[in-house]
């Protein structure tokens, strides 16, 4: 009985010593969270020699418009005209960029037009855009009658490849008369012949 009492006293002493140690093991951490965010604004840009710009410019020279008979050359009236195109590299980071295409009739610089002659040449402007899904989206605009601009959206993001935008001209047309000699198109000394393209991030 005496021995049991002694052991009990010793055990109680150990408990007294152990209890504070268990309490001291409690620790408190600090957590932190910093949220990083950003955004990418919708843009379209032209890359010229790798440098971004907001416009592209080119000239399609159709050469001699008239055939040996003085009328519009037959080689210019088809749905494709060899060499009558220009390609550019445009980047857009949006899902389905918007497109607007219009063009003006090409006029010669002659001061007057004799009966049986014309200095008015209409054509079809064509805009081909390479898409990221491997397909090509095509827009066309026929200058005759000066209609409203052709507008629409791509069905996929614009391809990130170079020369992904091609502008071309085909299906030239007159009223069938003889073409008046002279320069045709604004850039050639006449008037008109301007194809306008707008590509917007959407």
């Amino acid at each position: 009985m005496k021995r049991n009492t002694t052991y009990g006293l010793l055990a109680a002493s150990f408990l007294t010593v152990l209890a504070p140690v268990a309490q001291a093991a409690t620790v408190t951490n600090v957590t932190g969270e910093v949220d990083v965010k950003g955004h990418v604004t919708g843009i379209c840009a032209v890359l010229i020699d790798g440098q971004p710009g907001n416009s592209f410019q080119g000239t399609i020279d159709l050469g001699e418009l008239a055939g040996a008979d003085g009328k519009l050359a037959a080689g210019l009236t088809g749905s494709t005209i060899s060499g009558a195109s220009k390609s550019f590299t445009v980047v857009c980071n949006s899902a389905t960029p918007g497109v607007s295409l219009s063009a003006t009739t090409m006029l010669g610089d002659a001061a007057s037009v004799l009966t049986g002659y014309t200095k008015t040449v209409n054509y079809t402007a064509k805009l081909d855009l390479g898409q990221a899904d491997g397909t090509t989206k095509t827009f066309t605009y026929v200058t005759a009658g000066n209609p409203a601009a052709t507008t629409g959206h791509l069905s996929a993001p614009l391809s990130g490849n170079t020369n992904n935008v091609t502008v071309s001209v085909n299906t030239l047309a007159t009223n069938g008369s003889l073409l008046t000699a002279g320069n045709y198109g604004q850039a050639g000394g006449g008037t008109g012949g301007v194809i306008s393209i707008t590509i917007t991030p959407v």
Binding site: T6, T26, K37, V40, A45, S94, A95
Partner: protein, 197 residues
């Protein structure tokens, strides 16, 4: 053998009861031992109060340049925050998830993943400073950088700063949209834990 145990038991009792024996016969003695402890603790100081966590935001703004690709030189910082720890050399853990845009890339010429390096700057006692880094990972559970500070954390205010630098992405067009979980995208979370040693 029994005698030896009895002798040892008697000796222990004598030793334990020694103060009582010094008292006069019939007196009662008492002893009260006062103890205390200080738990290992790290805490955020907010004004006059404390908190167990701090929170900040770093807005890197528009990530893309005029060519549609990642702008160079993007950096950001949050804080300073004030954290106290009462232990000698606290432990830290730092992890970061990459920024992911809200719109998936259309093909390999696009990307919506932006990586960065997160930094954790800590002011320590005696004007010592340490900075730890973690490269972001495109994962919900990025691997953390862990370390033990070389010194105790400074008791000064503003002893914790969090930064972002070395922002990188694939050489591709960044898809338009919002980046980071708090902005409608995914990721962009820097997670810090500071523990007492």
């Amino acid at each position: 053998m029994k005698n030896l145990k009895t002798l040892l038991g008697t000796a222990m009792i004598i030793a334990l009861c020694a103060p009582a024996m010094a008292a006069p016969v019939g007196a009662v003695t008492g002893e009260v031992d006062v103890i205390g402890h200080v738990n290992g603790l790290c805490s955020v100081i907010v004004g006059e109060g404390t908190a167990s966590s701090f929170q900040g935001s770093i807005d890197l703004g528009n990530l893309a340049g005029a060519n549609g690709k990642l702008l160079s030189g993007l950096t950001g910082a949050a804080g300073p925050f004030t954290v106290i720890c009462n232990s000698g050399a606290p432990h830290i853990s730092l992890a970061a998830s990459s920024l992911v845009g809200s719109v998936a890339p259309a093909d390999a010429s696009y990307t919506n993943v932006v990586n960065y390096r997160a930094s954790l700057g800590l002011g320590e006692v005696s004007s010592n400073n340490e900075t730890f880094y973690a490269n972001s990972q495109n994962s919900a559970t990025p691997t953390a950088t862990t370390a033990t500070l070389a010194h105790a954390l400074s008791g000064n205010t503003g002893n914790i700063t969090v930064g972002v630098d070395t922002v990188t992405a694939a050489n591709a067009i960044l898809t338009a949209g919002t980046y980071g979980a708090t902005n409608g995208g995914v990721g962009g979370t820097i997670t810090i834990t500071i523990s007492p040693s």
